[in-house]
């Protein structure tokens, strides 16, 4: 009754005797309404849940960000944009932005290339390759909380695995406080992040690599291209769409990093590992400055949104064109 193509067919020319114009219009109108109601009816449960639990809270955060508010009753103490201007005077928050930028850059220049290298390696045929894949991917399945606790033990000062290893190879005293040392804490955190997430990116790349037709690399091989040339000129361009997605996910992930940091350091020592989400959590749930914390949420959202839109506009758009032109000819 309500299916698309049947409706299309029925409105096609010359299938049956046309009823009088007015009846037909009324019937079609009613049918169209019915069709619309059925279609939207299927959406309704999902829509209600999505609006209630995702959209409304976000809009409310936007509203609450303009109030000084402790989180009880309705916000009433309107302060305009004070929360936002305060935020950009707050050294902790400015530090959050800075640390976020560092994490993004580190992920892009270290973690993703490493993941790519491993993916290319594991894409070769060799014994035990499936086992390696499973091992590298396993950390991704463990929750951030469990990973966090595990590594806070591994990097525990003196008794942790890391210090013991360094001690055993004669590098006593190189380790140390790890998560408790302001100058080491971000590097150590990044190490844990890499352990946890690089397998995920590797898996994405592997899936991308497998969709590249083997004939292309074989053809390049016959043309006498070296391994590096084959990788640089055949594999990499064809993998570009996957790479762009993984960069996107990696950046969005870094912006909202919370669980790992909260479990391991709670942002310490002295805010040196705090992220925006941790600062938001501190203000919202520990100090009950909910209006201020909402302002942090709004800024986080703004950064994500601007990044996502810009990325879609300037990077992902090129994807379709780029992919087809590289397929069609030999460049320019």
């Amino acid at each position: 009754m309500t299916s698309t193509f049947l409706a299309d067919k029925r409105s096609g020319p010359g299938t049956e005797l046309p009823p009088p114009e007015s009846v037909r219009a009324r019937g079609r109108g009613r049918r169209r309404v019915l069709h619309w109601l059925t279609a939207v009816g299927f959406q309704l449960p999902a829509l209600v849940l999505f609006i209630g639990m995702v959209l409304l809270p976000m809009l409310f955060a936007l509203y609450a960000a303009f109030f000084r508010w402790g989180g009880f009753g309705m916000p009433s103490d309107y302060v305009g944009t004070d929360n936002f201007t305060d935020l950009f005077d707050n050294p902790v928050f400015l530090g959050d932005l800075w640390r976020c930028l560092i994490l993004v850059l580190l992920s892009l220049v270290l973690q993703l290339p490493f993941a790519l290298a491993m993916a290319v390696l594991l894409n070769q045929k060799f014994r035990g390759r499936a086992v390696y894949r499973m091992l590298f991917f396993a950390p991704y399945v463990l929750s951030e909380a469990i990973t966090g606790v595990l590594f806070s033990m591994v990097f525990a000062p003196d008794d942790g695995l890391a210090d013991h290893v360094l001690g055993a190879v004669g590098l006593d005293g190189v380790g140390g406080l790890w998560f408790a040392d302001p100058s080491y804490v971000m590097a150590t955190l990044f190490l844990v992040m890499t352990w946890k997430y690089f397998g995920f990116h590797m898996m994405l790349y592997l899936a991308g690599l497998q969709s590249i037709p083997r004939e292309l690399t074989e053809a390049a091989l016959i043309d006498g291209a070296s391994a590096w040339q084959r990788f640089r000129n055949v594999t990499l361009p064809l993998l570009a769409p996957t790479l762009r997605i993984s960069v996107f996910l990696s950046v969005i992930g870094a912006i909202q990093l919370f669980d790992l940091v909260w479990v391991i350091t709670q942002g310490g020592p002295d805010h040196h590992s705090e992220t925006m989400a941790v600062t938001m959590f501190q203000y919202g749930f520990k100090r009950y400055q909910v209006g201020y914390a909402s302002a942090i949420s709004v800024v986080m959202f703004g950064i994500c949104l601007v990044f996502a839109l810009a990325y879609q506009r300037f990077v992902l758009r090129r994807d379709l064109e780029g992919a087809t032109t590289t397929m069609r000819g030999d460049g320019k």
Partner: protein, 254 residues
């Protein structure tokens, strides 16, 4: 890569004293009491049960609602379809951390704190965009002739969905279910906030609290960690293909 994991398993069999004198090697005496103590107490099982309940609840809800919505997106042409779909896909860009504060206030006013629904409903809501996108792509590939045949046989559109589409979509449903289970299982922030007392704590919350409580007894914490990892890793080894398939499909179609 596996060193930290092996280290944790072995350490769980040692005493805390032995850990500092013999950090790497096999335990001199395999001490099982760390593990058995935890398994013998009721706490661990309670956490496991509540994690399971929440994961199953979330998964059933998100897959059911997404399947209905994806069916409508894939099979109906109607006014406002593109707008609605854009609305859902925009949900992919909303980081959970951004909404968590107002969400908490909402749950508080709905009296859903310390109630598993307080975790299930938001988790399902945030899972909708990805699940809908994956399912829609899959539903689209099922040939229109099938629908035509079903309709001629007197099937209503819901009848077609229920009796033809869903059984055919079993692999896709499996994939999104596995994704939903893993996401729910690993969620930390929401259960941490919603469950103020320990009745409904999930494993990630429990592990963190356990470490705080027994911070001096390393070996015990290691044993606890290992036990908390087991369900996730076991599930992963069974559902690996589905999980990887879902992640890559979701990521490239997102």
């Amino acid at each position: 890569m596996v060193v930290p994991l092996v280290y944790a398993v072995l350490s769980g069999f040692k005493s805390t004293d032995e850990l500092s004198s013999n950090p790497f090697g096999l335990p001199k005496r395999w001490l099982t009491s760390n593990y058995t103590d935890i398994l013998g107490g009721g706490d661990f099982w309670r956490l496991l049960g509540s994690s399971t309940l929440i994961a199953v609840g979330t998964t059933v809800l998100v897959v059911a609602l997404s399947a209905l919505a994806a069916f409508s997106f894939a099979r109906f042409a109607f006014r406002g379809r593109e707008a609605l779909f854009t609305l859902f896909t925009m949900g992919l860009m909303f980081p959970f951390a951004v909404a968590v504060l107002p969400l908490f206030l909402l749950l508080r006013s709905l009296d859903l704190l310390d109630n598993p629904l307080g975790v299930i409903l938001p988790q399902a809501a945030f899972g909708l965009p990805m699940t809908i996108i994956i399912l829609r792509a899959f539903f689209r590939e099922i040939p229109g002739e099938l629908e035509e045949a079903a309709t001629l046989d007197g099937c209503s559109s819901f009848g077609f969905f229920w009796r033809v589409l869903l059984p055919m979509a079993r692999p896709a449903l499996g994939t999104v279910s596995v994704l939903a289970v893993v996401t729910s299982w690993n969620n930390f922030m929401l259960p941490l906030l919603v469950f103020t007392d320990n009745t409904w704590w999930t494993l990630p919350v429990g592990v963190q609290q356990f470490q705080g409580q027994y911070s001096a007894e390393y070996a015990r914490v290691f044993a606890y960690l290992v036990l908390a990892m087991v369900p996730a890793l076991a599930f992963y080894s069974v559902a690996e293909r589905q999980l990887v398939g879902g992640l890559t499909a979701g990521a490239t179609k997102g």
